[in-house]
């Protein structure tokens, strides 16, 4: 019996997990840097921090469901992970475009994350199609 689990998706999910930890710490550090160097009032700082932490909270189940779905070749968790990916993409776009201060490093980090999400979504759709059929 051939293996339906997608190896590229598994590798990408694993790398995504590691990259996300780096991304979260880097973005948090940059927000702290921005609040010290620039004028960053509290009612602009709060939404940015909220979005970052919400994205971190979403990432954990998203990656877990992705792993589980891919390894058990079940389409339901993978579908749920895809849904959560949409939410993460929205938050990532917010941090890329609508943050109070968008530094060049922010642009780089978010662009990489966005491309990872895009690639993941494509691979997930392919995997779901493989599992269903």
């Amino acid at each position: 019996s051939s293996q339906l689990s997608s190896l590229p998706l598994q590798i990408l999910l694993y790398v995504n997990g590691i990259y996300y930890i780096f991304y979260f710490l880097a973005t948090l550090a940059m927000i702290i840097y921005k609040s010290q160097v620039f004028s960053y009032p509290d009612d602009y700082l709060a939404p940015d921090l909220a979005v970052l932490f919400l994205m971190a909270i979403l990432e954990v189940p998203r990656l877990y469901l992705g792993f589980k779905g891919n390894l058990t070749e079940a389409e339901a968790p993978l579908g749920l992970s895809l849904g959560l990916t949409v939410g993460s993409v929205v938050l990532c776009v917010y941090l890329l475009l609508w943050q109070t201060y968008v530094l060049r490093a922010d642009v780089l980090l978010n662009a990489v994350l966005l491309s990872a999400y895009g690639l993941e979504s494509g691979l997930k759709v392919t995997a779901i199609a493989a599992f269903i059929s």
Binding site: M30, S39, L97, W98, Q99, T100, Y101, V102, L103, R104
Partner: protein, 543 residues
């Protein structure tokens, strides 16, 4: 008319818009419609003006340098060309840093906010927000509850504290004092435990002198003092004494001080006008006023006088305490007199030292005549920390006898009541015998050669008082403590002068304060030790 109001509103509300175009900004353009020298961005300068410049004082005008890409206006002078001409370039500057601002969604990030122009409508709201000592970001939510009384006031109902104005029935106990100029201002409140003495000038006219309130005794004693702030307990101000000053300045104390003497016009003079008031307030040690007395000096004002000088004084004493002024608490304060006293007879039985306001350590005060024998006993108190030197000149004639001269000079140098003990701390009590330091007296003869006859008379020529003090107490708040006082009298032989000749010798007295505090030694806390002991029955059953 409504349209004028609207147009004025429109005029008021618009502030000049900030200039953000880099090509149009010029920092060195200070003169209007004139060319500023060496200002390459000045639009008022023509090509002829540019040819006369030497450098560009403002070479680059850019926006915030933290942006990733921004426009920059670069001005430079091409000195090679003939005539020199200005080069203006508008370039895009790229910031290579990875932390440059790529975009910002916050309008005030890079520009100062235009302030809101006050109009009649928003004035109250702006005043609430910016009128206080600090700007509150959220003025509505952090307002104090106006129903409950202010918390800081709750503490001061029970007692007076240092500096708090002494309250009376209607307002405060007034101590008129000069404000800005020398004219009396009646709005100066007397502070609790703040001893003050003020002098000020009041304008008077003899015809209306009985209607001028500030000249009558009633003005100063009619309102009673509150014993504690905001209470209903009153303390009446009693008249302690009345002294009447005549026109030539002589004062007589009146026997009966019960009768209230009000100013009245008599023979072109205004008599019973208040020239001075001295308040004495007695208080308990819990900050409650129990007694108040006022001593008046009344005088007469002549018709020609347009103003009169009044002097006011207030002093606070604690009940059942002798008012001995302290020179520091506990260490000496620089500038306050060194306290001294005498050991009473009957030592070594522990008895208190005699120290009052008159037993001070004093040195000779130099007078304008500089003649020792005509010194008239002018002495200056020794103030802690102030090294002083003073002196006088002694004119010796042949007729002077040595022995009485020596005694007179010793009196001149030391004064009538040279004390025996000096207080170690500024607040040393007379009963604490150990807090007083004896004054060591030394006699030094100037001629150390022993071949001169000892029987020849020696006269003192200088007195040097050396006060050694040390820093005592904690390192952050050291207190000055006097450790040792030495009074050295230097004598010299008086050579017999041929008759008719006279000699002038200088007599000096000095006070020197020396700090002998040893430098602070660092102390380390003991290293923590591991305290391991075997239990006593460890070697059971062998031991």
């Amino acid at each position: 008319p409504a349209d004028i109001h609207d147009s004025s509103q429109a005029r008021v509300r618009s502030a000049p818009a900030p200039v953000t175009d880099v090509a149009k900004l010029c920092v060195c353009d200070l003169l209007v419609a004139q060319c500023d020298t060496n200002c390459c961005c000045d639009p008022d300068c023509s090509a002829d003006d540019f040819s006369l410049f030497t450098t560009c004082s403002v070479p680059v005008v850019t926006g915030d340098s933290q942006l990733c890409s921004q426009k920059a206006a670069v001005y430079s002078l091409d000195v090679e060309a003939n005539p020199p001409e200005r080069i203006f370039k508008l370039i895009d500057r790229v910031n290579p840093s990875i932390f440059c601002i790529h975009a910002t969604n916050y309008k005030e990030a890079l520009y100062l906010k235009s302030p809101e122009i006050p109009t009649p409508e928003n004035f109250d709201q702006l005043l609430d927000k910016f009128g206080g000592a600090t700007f509150s970001a959220e003025p509505d939510s952090w307002n104090l509850d106006t129903d409950t009384p202010n918390p800081p006031d709750a503490n001061e109902t029970s007692r007076y504290e240092y500096g708090v104005p002494v309250q009376t029935e209607d307002a405060f106990l007034r101590l008129p004092s000069p404000v800005v100029s020398s004219w009396c201002s009646d709005a100066n409140p007397a502070g609790f435990l703040v001893n003050q003495a003020t002098k000020c000038i009041r304008s008077v006219s003899v015809e209306k002198c009985d209607s001028i309130q500030a000249l009558s005794m009633l003005f100063y004693i009619n309102s009673s003092i509150l014993a504690v702030p905001k209470s209903s307990q009153m303390v009446n101000i009693t008249v302690q004494s009345i002294a009447v000053q005549s026109l030539n300045g002589m004062r007589t104390l009146l026997n009966s001080s019960d009768v209230l003497r009000l100013p009245m016009v008599l023979d072109e003079l205004c008599i019973n006008a208040v020239l001075g008031v001295s308040y004495h307030i007695t208080h308990t040690d819990t900050g409650e006023i129990i007694e108040a007395a006022a001593a008046f000096v009344l005088g007469a004002i002549s018709k020609e006088a347009l103003s009169v000088e009044q002097s006011f004084e207030i002093s606070f004493t604690q009940e059942n305490a002798q008012p001995v002024p302290l020179s520091g608490n506990p260490g000496y304060v620089v500038g306050l007199p060194v306290r001294a006293g005498f050991r009473p007879q009957g030592y070594p039985s522990p008895a208190a030292f005699l120290s009052n306001k008159h037993s001070q350590l004093t040195i000779l005060q130099s007078t304008s005549t500089q003649d020792c024998l005509a010194a008239q006993g002018a002495r200056a108190p020794v103030l802690f920390g102030y090294n002083m030197i003073s002196g006088c000149k002694l004119r010796i004639t042949a007729a002077m006898k040595c022995q009485p001269l020596a005694q007179t000079l010793l009196d001149v140098l030391k004064g009538q009541n040279f004390p025996e003990y000096v207080a170690s701390f500024g607040n040393s009590q007379a009963q604490d015998v150990l807090d007083w330091v004896p004054i060591t007296q030394l006699h030094i003869s100037e001629q150390m050669i022993c071949n001169t006859l000892q029987s020849s008379c020696q006269i003192p020529v200088s007195l040097g008082i050396e006060v050694k003090w040390t820093k005592y107490g904690s390192l952050v708040n050291p207190q000055a403590r006097i450790v040792n006082v030495t009074a050295t009298v230097t004598t010299t032989t008086l050579k017999q002068l041929p008759s008719g000749r006279e000699r002038i010798i200088p007599i000096t007295s000095s006070v020197v304060f020396t700090d002998i505090s040893s430098p602070a030694e660092p102390g380390y806390k003991a290293w923590p030790t591991i305290n391991i002991k075997l239990p006593f029955d460890f070697f059971y059953p062998f031991v």
